[in-house]
Structures are given as C-alpha cells and as structure tokens.
C-alpha cells in the first residue's frame, strides 16, 4: 500500500486539516506503513463472516425534556450572541 502526496492532500481537505509540506511527507510515510499492516485483513477468506451484531435494545420514548439552565451551554461557545453562534461571514 503506497499513499501519494496527492492522496494525503486530498484526505486532509476532506478532514479540514491544514498540513505543512513536512507533515504531508510524514503522513504519507506513516499512512503507507499502517495501511500496509491493516491490509493483512485481505488474507482472510471473504464470505464466511457472520453479520456484524445489531443492537437489540428498545428505544426510549422521544419526549421533550427541559434542560435546567442553558446559559452554561451558551457560555461554552467561543462567540455567542442573542441566541446565535456567531461565525465569520460565509457569503460575500
């Protein structure tokens, strides 16, 4: 498994990570090694695997419950005003 610098940059864009050239090279090397290790799964014969388990729990009722005090939730935000999370301008 070899990962190219272009693969690394593509994945970084999808993951919203900004990488330096040095990081691109390091992750290219490390991802190649780790993915080569993970590829040992390919040695296993397909077909005989049981289906992954499905949760069999009953779901709770979807009822509205009041949060006692929303102020700490607002205060946890870097920029919160008048009921809104404020972010930089999205549309010019």
């Amino acid at each position: 498994m070899t990962v190219s610098p272009e693969d690394v940059r593509h994945i970084a864009r999808l993951a919203r990570l900004e990488l330096t050239d040095e990081e691109v090279e390091r992750f290219r090397r490390e991802l190649s090694t780790i993915l080569a290790y993970v590829e040992k799964l390919e040695q296993l014969e397909p077909g005989s695997a049981p289906e992954p388990g499905k949760p069999d729990q009953p779901l709770r009722q979807d009822t509205l419950a009041e949060w006692p005090d929303v102020t700490p939730l607002h205060e946890a935000a870097p920029d919160f005003e008048a009921g809104f999370f404020r972010v930089p301008r999205v549309i010019e």
């Binding site: 990570l17 490390e30 090694t33 780790i34 993915l35 205060e75 946890a76």
Partner: protein
C-alpha cells in the same frame, strides 16, 4: 517514588460510616498526596475547594443517618479528563477543549456523587484518549511511579498513576482498545473494562462510539468492583446502555471457590513477542487456579491476531467522524479568522500529531473507493472475533491471557513509531471489539535486568457478556495468590 499506603475504598467507607474518620479528612489526605506526587503528573486539575465542600456535605449526610445509601462515603476518586464533571474543565488532554467548562455531570459521575464519593481531580490522558502511553497529552506526559523514566501506559495513564501513587483508592478511566487495562498492568493496579453497555457513556467524550466504555481502576479487586457496581446500569441518556440488571459485584468475593471453574488458555495470546517474564506470570496464575481445582482448557481465538488491524479501521473511522465536531463553533478553542473555512483549518491545526494521524487514517478508510476494502472488511472481521469468543465461552467460563506483551517502556521509545505503539494493545483490543468484559490484575514483577528495573506485570481475564461478577471472583482468588509486588 514509592506508592503511599492508604485504606481501600471499602475500608474507608466503612470507617466513615462508623464515624471513625471523616470524608473531609480523607479528601484532605488525598489532596495532600496529589501535591506530593505532582512530579508524576497524574492530574491536570484539582477540585480542592469543591471537593472539600462536597466532603463536608457527605459528613453531614452520614451524621443524619444516611450511611446505608452511601457505599462510597468519603472515598476520594480521580477521574480521567474526558469524563464530564459539572462546573470544571474537561480538556481531553487537548488544546481544542482547554477553555471548555462542563455544563453537566456524566452519568457515572452523578452516580459516584450519590454514593458519597468525592471527585478530587481530573487526570491526564493521551489527547482524546488516543494513545497507549499518555505521551500524547497536550499538557505533557505522566510518569510511571515504579520508574519515572518510563510511561505509565495509556490512555488512562493519569487515573492509574493516581491510584498506583497512593493518592486515591479508585479512579475512573475509559477504554476503546485497552486504555484502562494496559496502564493498570504497567503500574501494578487493577483495571476493568466492563461489557459494552454496562456503564452509560453519557458525558464521556466520544472516540470510537461502538467501542468506548468507562472503566474502573482500583488498588484492589474489591475496590474496582465496588466502584463499578455504583456506576453501572441503564441510563435514558445513553441508548446503548444495557437494561441488564446490575449484580452486587464486590460483596462476598472472598467466598468464591475456583474449584470446577473452566479457564480458557488461548495459544494465540502466547506467541512471539511476549516477554518471558509475563509468560511465566500467566503460567503461574494458571497453575494456581488449576491447583485450586479449576479446569484449564485450551481454546482457540484464531481471529484475535487481526485485532489491531481491525481496530485501526473501525476505531479510527469512528474517531474521524466524532472529531469532526471540533470546528471552533459551539465549544472549545477557536482560532480567529475572517473567513469560515480558514477558521476551521486554523482551529483544527491545534490537534496534536497523533490526532491528525488518526483523523487522516479514519478519513482515508471511509473515503470513496476504500470504504469496502477497509471499513467493510474491518467490521466483518470484527464479527468473526466476536464469534470466536462466543464459541470459546461455550466451553469455558473465563479466558486467561497476558494484558500486555511487555512491561512499561521508556518515555520516548515508541514516540516515532506509531505502529509499534499500536501493537502494545494486541492482547486488549479484542475484548473491546467483541464488547465483552475484561480485567487486568497485578501478578508480581519482571526480574530486574541491567537495562530495566523490576516492573509490574498484569494478567488478564476475559469473560462473556455481563459476567463481571465471575471475573471479579476469579480475580480476587488470584489477588490472594499473587506474589508480593
């Protein structure tokens, strides 16, 4: 730095009930010890003032005759800093959550409080619980009390150091692939990974949601069991918490007799790469069980050797999704920028190297063209690992293995080799992938060598779903038989 001697949680709660000591003095002693072991960097924050006030309240409740409702009356507890405690930080060992203040208690914390326990501080961890050494903390590594030049293991390193360093009798950690058991083995404490769904994940910051589980660390088997009894049980806030009734896990453990118990011995867990002293420890534990009348049965877990490969598809895929929420909008750190997409990028640049590595890997295995080959294959092999255990548990009550292939390694030794670091969890990840309970307990130390001092050894017991009680019984027997550490 030698571990201090402090009473067990069970003994301390009894003494508080009997008014022989007070919650306030227990908390004061724990806070003082936390200062003494500060060089080991177990804690990221201490709750001095809040803990003292809560201790005074526990003492009032005991004086009012409420002792029966307080199985952990006055017991100081350390909590991994990825579990929310209201009104204080939950940093996850990350710059991304450094400014965050938890608005609520995790369910496990609420239950500890109701039982009379007092959280004295939040402990160090690998960033977002991703690591096996606590070296990935943005706030610096923790150190092993048995040799401060070595790692305590991870990711729940701080919680285990707080117990091994004699500060608290019990602590909470969390597991995704061995993050309680591995440091417990490295530091000579008991570490428990409960059945998936046994403990509510509400208030535990998500890493790999199909694997994550809060676990307990104890200086003794009884303490780890007592703390788990308190925090276990279903919770409307976590749809994956189990309605299975919670047994009393710590009462009467001494009365259990191993005669007739069937113990599985899986060849796959004793192959190349296992330290000879750890192999010898497992054989000694096996022989003690056999001498007491347990039946030793060879079992096969043929897919366990694929555990790490499966883990690094499933866990990192879930992690990359869970970590997408750290975008600087609703909580935590935000890097200032006048444009939204660059705000995301600059904010997420605060993730450490291991986080970026796992986000990259997870995004890769979930991306178009690779999903089936990696994530699809990973989930299929995960089901086979589970099926192997189901087969084995038709024939045995529990399985005995090493917890780790080696004892604690020097700080920095594996920092530049991520795969070598991942392989540390080779004996622990399968229990997480299968969802089954597992315990690591101390079994003596490795002989001292010129290149390393004597270091603690952990042996592991794994059992079928919700068989925690049986595991604690066997572990308690082994605890009595174990050589002096």
């Amino acid at each position: 730095m030698s571990p201090g001697h402090l009473p067990t949680a069970a003994a301390l709660a009894r003494a508080v009930h009997a008014r022989e000591t007070s919650a306030e003095s227990a908390v004061e002693a724990a806070l003082a010890r936390a200062e003494e072991i500060e060089p080991l960097h177990a804690f990221l924050s201490l709750r001095g003032e809040a803990a003292r006030a809560e201790a005074a309240e526990v003492d009032r409740r005991v004086a009012d005759g409420d002792a029966d409702e307080l199985p952990l009356a006055g017991v100081p507890v350390a909590v991994k800093d990825n579990i929310a405690v209201a009104g204080g930080p939950t940093t996850c060992g990350s710059r991304l959550l450094e400014p965050y203040v938890s608005p609520f208690d995790a369910t496990a914390i609420a239950r500890l409080r109701e039982a009379g326990a007092i959280v004295i501080g939040k402990t160090n961890l690998d960033e977002f619980a991703m690591g096996s050494s606590t070296e990935n903390s943005a706030f610096g590594p923790s150190r092993n009390p048995h040799d401060p030049t070595r790692v305590p293991g991870g990711s729940s390193g701080g919680s285990v150091v707080a117990v091994a360093g004699g500060c608290v009798p019990v602590a909470l950690g969390s597991e995704t692939g061995g993050s309680v058991r591995q440091p417990a083995a490295f530091c000579g404490t008991v570490g428990v990974k409960p059945t998936y769904g046994r403990v509510s994940r509400y208030g535990l910051v998500a890493f790999g949601s199909s694997l994550d589980q809060i676990g307990t660390v104890g200086s003794t088997v009884e303490d780890a069991a007592l703390a788990l009894t308190v925090i276990a049980g279903s919770d409307p806030h976590d749809a994956t918490s189990s309605p299975e009734p919670v047994a009393a896990l710590s009462a009467g453990l001494d009365d259990a007799d191993p005669a007739g118990i069937r113990i599985g011995w899986p060849a796959e867990y004793f192959g190349a790469g296992l330290d000879p002293a750890i192999l010898a420890a497992c054989e000694a534990a096996r022989d003690r069980l056999a001498a007491a009348g347990a039946e030793i049965v060879e079992v096969s877990l043929p897919h366990s050797p694929y555990g790490i490969a499966v883990y690094y598809t499933v866990a990192i895929a879930e992690a990359s999704s869970n970590l997408a929420r750290y975008d600087g909008v609703r909580y935590g750190f935000r890097a200032q920028s006048n444009e939204l997409s660059s705000m995301y990028l600059k904010t997420r640049a605060a993730f450490g190297a291991e986080l970026k590595r796992r986000i990259m890997l997870g995004t890769y295995v979930l991306s178009a063209g690779y999903y089936e080959a990696f994530y699809g294959k990973g989930t299929a092999v995960r089901a086979r690992i589970r099926a192997d255990f189901e087969d084995a548990f038709q024939r045995v009550d529990a399985i005995l293995t090493p917890t780790t292939p080696t004892p604690a390694f020097p700080i920095g030794e594996k920092a530049e080799d991520p795969l070598a670091m991942y392989l540390n969890d080779i004996y622990t990840v399968s229990a997480n992938l299968a969802g089954i309970p597992a315990i690591s307990l101390p079994w003596g130390k490795t002989p001292a060598r010129p290149d390393r001092p004597a270091l603690p050894i952990g042996v592991q017991l794994m059992g079928p779903d919700f068989a925690e009680r049986r595991l604690f019984e066997i572990a308690r027997f082994l605890e009595r038989e174990a050589p002096e550490a």
